[in-house]
Symmetry: C2
Subunit: 395 residues, 2 copies
């Protein structure tokens, strides 16, 4: 007889991205698939230097167990940064360091979701958030979105008419997968609805610092006076993902519950990773580094969007994101992006079909393009090949 | 109105150890509380060197995302090591790298446990395993143990008479908290019962390499021919805990489920931590390093046991572990170790009261002593003070 798994195993499936990423390890592949940052921008020499200093100054501490909450100076930096950039008013006790912001999503599921609870999300939404929350047995209802974010009237209708809504999950800045950004008014309205209906909001913000144009907008959290909004953040896109350091920020009572849950989950994050990052922030100017990333990605976004504009056949539309890593492509309704991917891989070009970004299925005529990871010449080359493939499908 | 948490929040409580550890950060405290390795043995200079080499040779790769399964050369080393030491026959696909072996426990809960399932465990058992599994809504039944491990006849009675037993959780080597080690026969019997009753066994083995005397014994897994036993392991006690690198090993079909679950939980472990450890294993002889740890802890165990033997009042008993980090102390039945702790902290000596190691409560007349973390003079000084306190309670 077979092994008896938990029920959740039946409804989890492998991340399509992670599976495609395995293919894209072949060097001949031009990949628009992963959400990978540009590795040539990682501050390798600076990291070598800070690691040396941390081990020399406090090696025994850096290699030992530490508190579940995380390294205090790093929590202080994060609180200050969020207060300056996002209009929050946090102190270090509002911050829990997590193993990437993906763990912040998992812990959010663990802290809030019971089987049968409903999570409201943008349609489409981040694929691995769906996996994170689904493991706790929730159902999803997708809220229609337009170029300015969730359509708030539709959101309120769902809040009025749906039992067991426990959480609203959103990515207001350069959303994954669409690249769209919520406008100011929608942010105010979402915070208002969270308080009116006593529903938690998880405001996921891995890309917010990577704005190519326009003014930064305050966080949804900055309009929340009652503690219903929690924010995630990450060093993966502004520093490097290999360290797996992110965070969740919110009301102190709630953060204490997250700490409790993290204790049983993995005790704490990597001590030396936290100390290395803190030392980097102390010795170097991360804003100079972020400016370099932004400049590079802006060039790549321009190149990608312009190339698609010129070469993609009529009837194919795509977003022009103001920041972040992704553009979202929509094909005529009768074309399945998975079929396009098969043909595209024959030409060594990869992307992620859009269907998996809809928790309840549908919209197979969409796909996501990442423009941060490939150098300029390969972006053009790859989109040329992809355009050729698309012309076979769109007659 | 308050925030609406998941049901599990009501039955999780803060780890008593982690709370006591906060107190023990004060330098005047002589702590027998945590399961902390001796930091003076961490190979700080070697780690500085391997980190430099890894960043020079492959910085971009070391700081980038990688596969969920973990770094292939590290998985290969682990498979070989287990095959040599524990009598298993694994290859790299049997291994998933986890964020410490604590995460291996959390993922085990996530893969196997539904609400209402029963976990059978040693009485007492590792406190943070209780938290890890309880988050998935399971109930615990404690199996009586003696100096040779679980009493297998009692285990079989429970397997025959209990509905919904999904898992048996054991620590056969230098158990936390008792320091006890299972004999050969019990290992064979447990594997047999797992196969007979189709119940998963999680064989947790963070301390197995730290044997001070006697012969190493084969793992429970080595007697399992059907895949019901999964093994955890960790670099925390043989290298350093700050890196948070552990693993789970088992049947490939099952490990693929763990990978799936880990994707949604935190994507992957720290890339550079995995590469640093692998480089260390390539350039240095970890067996020389482990021998140094074993020698140090043997001296400390001898000192602790001898001091307790001489100074603790009659009626107080304790274990003489053949390896690992812990001894287990039992007081006369009418004495509550939490009261002893209060008095002991007044003399700046800390330990962990035993009550929390029993998932269903009870046995408050017990406590756990860690002997790995304090230098020799403080072990003696601390146990002298603790003996004084005990003499106030045991008349």
């Amino acid at each position: 007889m077979g092994f008896k798994y938990a029920k959740r195993i039946a409804y989890l499936k492998a991340s399509e991205i992670r599976e495609i990423l395995k293919v894209t390890e072949r060097p001949e592949i031009i990949s628009f698939a992963g959400g990978l940052p540009a590795p040539e921008l990682f501050p390798v020499d600076e990291i070598k230097e800070v690691n040396r200093i941390v081990l020399e100054e406090s090696g025994h501490k850096a290699l030992q167990y530490t508190t579940t909450e995380g390294y205090a100076p790093l929590r202080r930096w994060i609180a200050n940064r969020m207060n300056t950039r996002l209009g929050t008013s946090f102190d270090p006790d509002n911050i829990l360091i997590t193993h990437g912001s993906q763990q912040a999503l998992d812990l959010s599921g663990k802290v809030f979701l019971d089987e049968g609870d409903v999570v409201l999300c943008e349609s489409p939404t981040y694929l691995a958030a769906i996996s994170a929350f689904r493991a706790y047995g929730c159902n999803f209802m997708e809220v229609p979105t337009d170029h300015d974010g969730m359509i708030v009237d539709e959101l309120e209708k769902l809040l009025q008419n749906t039992l067991n809504v426990k959480m609203i999950y959103v990515i207001p800045n350069f959303q994954n997968p669409t690249g769209r950004t919520w406008n100011y008014e929608r942010r105010v309205q979402l915070a208002g609805l969270a308080m009116k209906y006593n529903v938690m909001v998880i405001e996921d913000n891995p890309y917010g610092e990577l704005r190519f144009e326009g003014e930064s907008l305050p966080s949804v959290k900055s309009f929340d006076t009652e503690g219903y909004v929690l924010c995630t953040g990450s060093f993966s896109k502004i520093f490097c993902p290999g360290y797996r350091i992110g965070w969740i920020a919110g009301d102190k009572e709630i953060i204490r519950k997250y700490v409790l849950v993290k204790q049983g989950t993995d005790l704490q994050c990597n001590t030396i990773a936290q100390m290395d990052i803190t030392k980097y922030l102390e010795l170097y100017d991360i804003d100079v580094h972020i400016a370099k990333i932004v400049e590079t990605y802006r060039v790549r976004r321009n190149l990608a969007v312009n190339t698609m504009e010129i070469l993609f056949p009529e009837g194919v539309t795509f977003t022009r994101p103001k920041g972040g890593l992704f553009s979202w492509v929509e094909l005529p309704a009768n074309i399945n992006a998975r079929d396009v991917l098969v043909k595209s891989l024959e030409k060594n070009v990869a992307f992620v079909p859009g269907g998996s970004f809809f928790p309840n299925g549908g919209k197979e005529n969409t796909f996501r393009i990442n423009f941060s990871n490939m150098p300029e010449d390969r972006i053009v080359e790859g989109l040329e090949r992809l355009a050729e493939v698309l012309r076979e499908f769109v007659k």
